[in-house]
């Protein structure tokens, strides 16, 4: 995309009208107004794309292998660790990182903080894609992916936590599609659709809060089915769902900070002045939210330890590992957020956000894999399982970038809205 940065100063295709007065067709919008050759040239110029090609060259055959020869052909087929990286990272990690949608939606639509509007759509998109790809990961992991809709329509087990997760993620996914669709409607120029979405925005946002509270919590509650398998320090029958919900708050906010920082640095050509001028200030605002969420999380995490009287475990090796996680993934970024916000150090807030994003993934992997079966042995995923996970993530990255390049997420659509 350096083509735009070097050649053209202004944002490409931000309205329906061409510089010469004609109207952009959808096809031209898709090609960003470039010719095939120009598009290919800019694609090949980007080293990131070469890395992606390598990932896919190995990853796609592995995924085919999974669908032709079964999960056992690309994983260790463990009966002791039924859930591996696809769920440990893809579902339990991606979902909290995608809490951004409902958080910013709430901030803007419910609390009326219109100053966060420039970053709201990025947060909504981040949420939508995160959830969508969590479902993609699920489709890789499920034994019978073709039966994804069974819990909805064929055989219902409403007393199960996973039933709640399935329904709420599915419903919330549609809510997010609706929320993000306003950007799409602007882009294709269907104003009626956009206005309709706007008219139900508050309802959508409130249902988003409910659904998010419940399924973020429910993902934690899934582990309460394994009281004897998850290490006591990562397990709390009473607080597991609050731990997961509360950590999803700073996870989602941190993910928006990271995404917006990447956009500012690597996609500035696609951002308008409104976004570029406000993103630093908004980062500080989000960082403040993260710091508050983290201190709350830290307190209830300790309450969880106190409630189950797990103090003795803190003195064991597992206890040190637990303290390491709390120290590196919570306390450290919490102080960085606090100091960064107080002294207006945007860079520090961004690093803090990156640490907390990685930290939350670490926490979820700890709960689902590393500290799971703590009395047995440690399962180390097959390299093909790791590669598949990376490949799906690369796909997520590509789709994310594809949409940011085109839809009015980082910039405002010009003309009638």
């Amino acid at each position: 995309m350096n083509a735009f940065i070097s050649n053209k100063q202004e944002i490409p295709i931000a309205s329906h009208v061409k510089p010469d007065g004609g109207a952009w067709s959808i096809k031209e919008k898709l090609w960003l107004g470039l010719s095939r050759d120009e598009y290919k040239a800019q694609f090949l110029r980007n080293p990131v794309n070469w890395a992606l090609i390598v990932i896919f060259a190995v990853g796609v055959p592995i995924i085919l292998q999974r669908y032709l020869f079964g999960l056992g052909s690309i994983t260790h087929a463990s009966n002791d660790y039924p859930w591996g990286l696809f769920l440990g990272f893809g579902l339990f990690g991606m979902v909290p990182l995608s809490a951004s949608g409902f958080l910013l939606g709430t901030t803007v639509e419910i609390f009326g903080r219109k100053d966060f509007v420039p970053i709201e759509r990025l947060a909504l998109l981040n949420g939508l894609l995160g959830y969508f790809f969590a479902v993609v990961y699920l489709e890789v992991d499920l034994g019978m992916p073709w039966r994804l809709y069974y819990p909805m329509f064929v055989s219902l087990g409403p007393a199960a936590v996973l039933f709640l997760v399935a329904w709420h993620v599915a419903t919330y996914l549609s809510v997010q599609v609706a929320e993000v669709s306003s950007a799409y409607f602007e882009w294709i120029g269907w104003l009626k659709g956009k206005r309709f979405i706007k008219s139900i925005a508050v309802g959508l946002t409130i249902s988003g809060i409910i659904l998010s509270t419940l399924h973020q919590g429910a993902l934690g509650a899934l582990f309460t089915y394994a009281p004897a398998k998850v290490h006591p320090l990562w397990f709390s029958a009473n607080f597991q769902w609050i731990h997961f919900f509360c950590s999803a708050i700073f996870a989602g906010l941190s993910m928006v900070i990271v995404a917006s920082a990447l956009c500012k640095k690597y996609m500035a050509w696609r951002c308008d002045r409104r976004f570029l001028d406000s993103v630093d200030e908004l980062t500080l605002g989000l960082g403040k939210g993260c710091a508050y969420a983290m201190i709350t999380y830290l307190v209830i995490k300790l309450v969880g330890v106190a409630h189950d009287n797990d103090w003795a475990h803190l003195l064991t090796g597992w206890g040190q590992y637990f303290l390491l996680e709390i120290g590196v993934a919570v306390v450290l970024p919490m102080f960085m957020f606090a100091v960064g916000v107080k002294n207006r150090l945007v860079g520090m807030v961004r690093w803090a956000a990156l640490i907390s994003v990685l930290g939350i993934v670490w926490n979820r992997l700890n709960t689902s894999m590393i500290c799971f079966n703590w009395q047995l042995y440690q399962e180390i995923p097959h390299w093909k399982e790791v590669w598949t996970t990376v490949t799906i993530f690369a796909l997520y990255f590509i789709v994310y970038r594809f949409i940011l390049y085109r839809l009015p997420i980082l910039y405002q659509w010009q003309g009638e809205k």
Binding site: Y67, F69, G70, L71, S73, T75, A77, N79, D80, P82, W83, T106, I110, F111, G112, L142, G143, R147, P151, V154, S155, G157, P158, A159, A160, V161, L162, F163, L164, A166, W167, H168, T171, S199, I200, V202, G203, L204, I206, S207, I209, I210, T213, L214, A218, A221, L222, T224, Y225, A226, P227, A228, K229, A237, N238, Q240, W241, Q375, L376, Y377
Partner: protein, 310 residues
Amino acid sequence: MNKLINRRGFLQGSLVASAAATVSLAKKSEAATFEGYPNAMGVLVDLSRCVGCRSCEAACNKEQNLPAPAKPFNDFSVFDEMQHGQKRRTDETRYTIVNRYDIPGREHPLFRKIQCNHCQEPACLTSCFVNAYTKTPEGAVIYDPDVCVGCRTCMVACPFYIPTFRYSSAFHPRIMKCVFCYDTRLTKGLPPACVESCPQEALTFGRRSDLLDMGKQRIRENPGAYVDHIYGEHEAGGTAWMYISPAPFEQAGFDVTVPKEPILNYVKDFLSIVPMVLTIWPALFAGFHLLATRKDKMEQQKKNENEGEV
């Protein structure tokens, strides 16, 4: 106009909520405590009798048409097999396993048969979101491969590590687990194949309530011969398959940290907050919204009035 729209949005929100609330009500009623079927059958396993002949493994393999084993069932070198530092476990080719435990201070090793314990309130069943599991009045926990999605939550939930997954198949994967010979034998009143094959009668089949009496009688009438505990009487809320042992259970590989209550009890805390969130959240956040945007509204109103005056 803006206000109207907001109200509409709010109504839609609450519709979603109430629809979901109905679902969660059903949830509560199903989560009620279940004491077990009165005439449910069970098996009492007496570790002092088992000599590790593996006849039960062979009988199970035949009865359930499982794939041929790697080694014959009268090959006892399998007792030395270790994987990840663990003794053998159930997998997609075997519903039951006998393991040997050499216990320091005991002249003879103990043998422990592992299979589905057929809980009274099975964790696999309560965690399944497509109702693939059923606890039958006869006492068996059976599985329906036709509705299973393959999420493997049951495997996570089972405190005894029993359900296994047919990872080897891309098109016909399913959970593989002991079903108490439900369709072939239990429904006809017959003991499961493993029980019938046992030469030592280490496996006693009968009504669960009778087996408890029997187990207690054996413990009482043979002082010193058994540890005074029936594993499975209360473990995981009670199981249909129960064990008595001459040595402490942990020495024979049993997980004695398994809770003495149904696994579902650990999940109830979360399930109980669901209706609360569904009913309180919409009102709460609509309230926040109205409060937070009140100032804007008032300003707008003022502006309108001013315009009217002019």
